[in-house]
Symmetry: C2
Subunit: 199 residues, 2 copies
C-alpha cells in the first residue's frame, strides 16, 4: 500500500488548491473529512456548492453579493469616497471601524506580472469610471504595505491622476499597543519620518 | 456590512471544522473557493461527497478501504506482526519502509479523557482479539512519542499482557542526519540511555 486510495488522493488534491495548503496539510484535512459523520461531510460538500451558486461579485465594486448589487453599494448613505482594498477580508475589517462610511473597490488581488495579473484583472478601468459617475471626492488606497501592494498603489495613483481626484493612502507607523522594542526597522523608520506634532 | 453574507459564513464555519483551522484561515479558504471557477468548485464539492461515499474503515484493522477489507488485510503475504499506529498517515509512512511487511491496527486517535476518547473508541478490544485469531507473534506500538501517545502505548501494553504476545515500541533517539548540536534535551537523554554497542 504505497499511497492513499484514489478517492482520498482526489480529495487531497482538491484541498491542495486552497492557499498555503501543502500535501501534508491537505492529507490531514482529507482524514478529517473521512472521519466526519455522513451528515457533516454532506453539509461541508453542500456549503461549497451553495456558496458558489448563491454568491457572485458586485458589478460596481467587486465585493461579494447574493443580490444584484452588494450591501455597501445599495446603501445610499455612503459618502462619495472609495477605499481600494485587495480583498473582501480587508473590506470587512475596515467596515468594523465606524469612522469610515464610504464605498469600496475590491481589487481581488495585486499587480503581479509573474502571476499574469495586470490592471485589467483588478478592474482599475472600472474604478476610474466610478470617479466621475459617482462624483467621488477621494480615493483611499488601502492595499497592503508590501512590495506588490505598494506597486499596485502607485499604479492606481497614476491611473487616477487625470481625473484630478484626491488619492490618499493609509498611514504607516507603529501599531497601537505595540512595543517599540520589537518594532521592525522599516516600520520604525516610517513612523519617525511621518511623526506628527503632539496636540 | 458587519459580516460575510450567510452562504459565505456557512462555508467559513465548515472550513473551521478542519483540524487547526481558525476563523481567519477558514475565511481565506472560503475566499479561495469563491474565486474558483464553477467547474473547480464543483470538483471540490464532489470530491468530498465521493470520498465519503466510497471510503470506509476496514473492519479488521480500521485502515481506510474502498472494498470490504483494506489492501493490507487482503495481502496474504503479510507477516503475523501488528504495528499499532495513531492514524492512516502514519501507516502510509511506515509502508514506505520496505523493511516492514506486517499488518496494522489503526487507532484513529489516542486516549484522551478530556476529549472523551476511551479504549473502546480506539478498538483496543478488537486488537486484543486479533492476537489469537491471526496468530500474531509481535505487536509493535508506533504511537507518537508524546504524552498522549506514551499513555496510549502503556495502556495497549497492559491490555495485551494477558495474551502473552511480545509487545515492542519504536526506538527513540537522534534522527538520522540530524545535528546533535540542535537535538533537544529529552531526545538526547533517551539516545544516551538507549545507546548501543558499535558493531
Amino acid at each position: 500500500m504505497n499511497e492513499y486510495l484514489l478517492p482520498i488522493e482526489i480529495l487531497i488534491d482538491q484541498f491542495r488548491k486552497l492557499p498555503g495548503v501543502g500535501r501534508k496539510t491537505a492529507a490531514r484535512y482529507a482524514m478529517a473529512v473521512l472521519d466526519m459523520t455522513d451528515e457533516s461531510a454532506r453539509a461541508f460538500s453542500e456549503s461549497i456548492a451553495a456558496a458558489k451558486k448563491d454568491i457572485h461579485r458586485c458589478p460596481v465594486c467587486n465585493n461579494f453579493t447574493d443580490g444584484e448589487l452588494c450591501p455597501v453599494c445599495l446603501d445610499e448613505n455612503r459618502l462619495p469616497v472609495i477605499c481600494v482594498v485587495e480583498d473582501v477580508r480587508a473590506l470587512l475589517n475596515i467596515e468594523k471601524v465606524r469612522d469610515y462610511r464610504g464605498r469600496y473597490h475590491v481589487l481581488g488581488g495585486v499587480l503581479s506580472p509573474i502571476k499574469g495579473i495586470g490592471p485589467e484583472k483588478l478592474g482599475i478601468d472600472r474604478l476610474t469610471k466610478r470617479i466621475a459617475s459617482e462624483g467621488i471626492t477621494e480615493v483611499i488606497v488601502a492595499t497592503n504595505p508590501t512590495v506588490e501592494g505598494d506597486a499596485t498603489a502607485m499604479y492606481i495613483m497614476r491611473a487616477l491622476s487625470p481625473s484630478g481626484v484626491k488619492v490618499t493612502r493609509l498611514a504607516l507607523g507603529i501599531p497601537v499597543g505595540a512595543d517599540i522594542e520589537y518594532a521592525d526597522e522599516l516600520t520604525l523608520a516610517r513612523a519617525i519620518k511621518s511623526r506628527g506634532i503632539m496636540e
